[in-house]
Symmetry: C2
Subunit: 318 residues, 2 copies
């Protein structure tokens, strides 16, 4: 039996996937009620789970277990969320083990979403064949994860590898929402994009002044139309991402860095820019580091957390 339900617990959308033998069988996406209490989020998840598996005539006992990837710092031994930014705040008080027992799940694993995505990409996607892989996900926030000799890096408090978005790259810059100064997120996450665009001296003359939303979609659209402000702000973000990736390379010494996140829809602009800048600036005397686009999109996290659950069972059965 290798049927697993993988849960990608985003702040906006929650995705449930049934995975069997590393293949997606069925999936369902629904809006996260992240403003409510977290007990409510989990009660909703329980109902969604029943609906999903009943469609195939299965019950909870027919599952090997459930894997949950979540955008926070996770104690993987205790299955506790230690810290989570803004959304799903009640998760830090939630007892996932007790919940799993209550609904009859044989097993549950929990991990950070970028770590799960890295495992997915390393096992089945853009990092396949490598044992030293870093992942960076560019979006509302900037996530990260590091694998060394085929093992995820966790550190003392399960933070290692995950805070690449909070490397300071502008130590006299603006405050980040994490409390630090000039983080990669402050200089290039989509939450900081409106500030970056509006503070440009020529903002009023830019097509972005009349854009519906100041997000990366509109930024790269204006970039392609030749908008000067869009180009300058995009280069600011690209340079910030490159500095963040170079800091990961200098920190973890990988063979390959996988770049993911919705913004990679503009990968035709982003990837060659990052590759070129990293080739110029990173200190890698032994071998250049490959910089590649994530191959699996939002499936990476599901396949990754499924793999971590399978691995836990293999270890338990040795």
């Amino acid at each position: 039996m290798s049927r697993v339900v993988a849960v990608d617990m985003g702040g906006t959308l929650i995705k449930l996937s049934i995975i069997n033998n590393n293949q997606l069988v069925r999936e369902k996406v629904y809006p996260a009620n992240a403003q409510g209490d977290f007990d409510g989020v989990m009660a909703q998840l329980e109902q969604q789970l029943y609906q999903l598996i009943q469609a195939d005539g299965w019950e909870v006992k027919d599952l090997l277990g459930m894997g949950i990837s979540i955008p926070g710092i996770v104690d993987i031994r205790q299955n506790r969320v230690l810290s989570i930014n803004q959304k799903h705040v009640g998760a830090t008080d939630f007892d996932f083990n007790q919940w799993a027992r209550k609904i009859g799940l044989a097993s549950i694993v929990l991990d950070n979403d970028a770590r799960a995505a890295l495992v997915g990409e390393q096992q089945f996607g853009a990092g396949k064949g490598y044992e030293h892989v870093n992942m960076i996900t560019l979006g509302t926030g900037i996530g990260g994860a590091a694998m060394i000799h085929g093992q995820l890096l966790y550190g003392k408090h399960y933070q290692a590898g995950c805070l690449g978005g909070h490397f300071s790259i502008n130590f006299k810059g603006a405050h980040c929402n994490c409390g630090n100064i000039g983080c990669v997120e402050t200089e290039g996450a989509s939450w900081s994009l409106p500030r970056l665009i509006k503070s440009h001296p020529q903002f009023a003359d830019s097509t972005l002044a009349s854009a519906e939303l100041l997000d990366f979609y509109h930024l790269f659209h204006a970039y392609r139309q030749g908008d000067t402000v869009a180009k300058m702000v995009a280069h600011h973000c690209l340079d910030a991402w490159a500095a963040g990736i170079i800091n990961m390379i200098h920190a973890y010494d990988p063979e390959v860095v996988v770049v993911g996140g919705g913004v990679m829809k503009s990968g035709d602009i982003i990837l060659p820019y990052l590759q070129n800048r990293i080739k110029q600036l990173a200190w890698t005397p032994c071998a250049p580091v490959k910089v590649v686009t994530a191959a699996l999109g939002s499936m990476a996290g599901c396949l990754g957390i499924n793999h971590l659950l399978q691995q836990k069972h293999q270890l338990a059965n040795v």
Copy 2:
């Protein structure tokens, strides 16, 4: 037999120490002829070694082995120097194993100097009792090392942990001698200090304008005398070091960061400043990270490389 000769192969001075049962028996410091070829450096080392051990009536065969710590990137499996900045450049072509066999050494280990210092501090000094330790050494360059779960971090090409001085903290800043932009070294190593001081707009009015040397000794001396320029430049460097340490904390998730290097003679100013700033800015939701001054000075590297050699022998004898 646990007699080891530990070699601290600095760019300016080379120190040989005889260590027996983790205690210093005898040491010798001599100027490194780093301008000559590296074969010459090693021939000189051989002569110094004979003189040192003969003083106790020993021969090379009476040693368990030799440990060499060196300010470069080291392949610890092959005992090869992969990359070294400016001084001892010929070391990358040198065959240390062959040299050891030639002079009759039973064993030789080689590692990066900051890694050796970290091991020394973690076994016998300021990091004792901890398994998750980072080290940063502030000086001409800025070195670093990381230990997670009691194991040194190496990565694919033996660079992991060692390049903390080359985290970019000012991604639109000046070029570093490593090729990157705005590294911690560019903003706060003693090699960049003359540029930082001279570019201050009030430099001409500062007591530093007549200083013999623009180094950290003179900077902190002027700071104590109330010199405004010295204070501003010192705070620039302190903020750069803090950003570098925060990036290490975010990268490696340690319990304790050990700060070493000659500049810590002004530790009474430096340590509380760093502690305060790191407490304010680092994202450590589980537990604050201790920031402490190195306890062993230049002995840390000798005791550390001795420990790595002893460990290798223990593993070989299991």
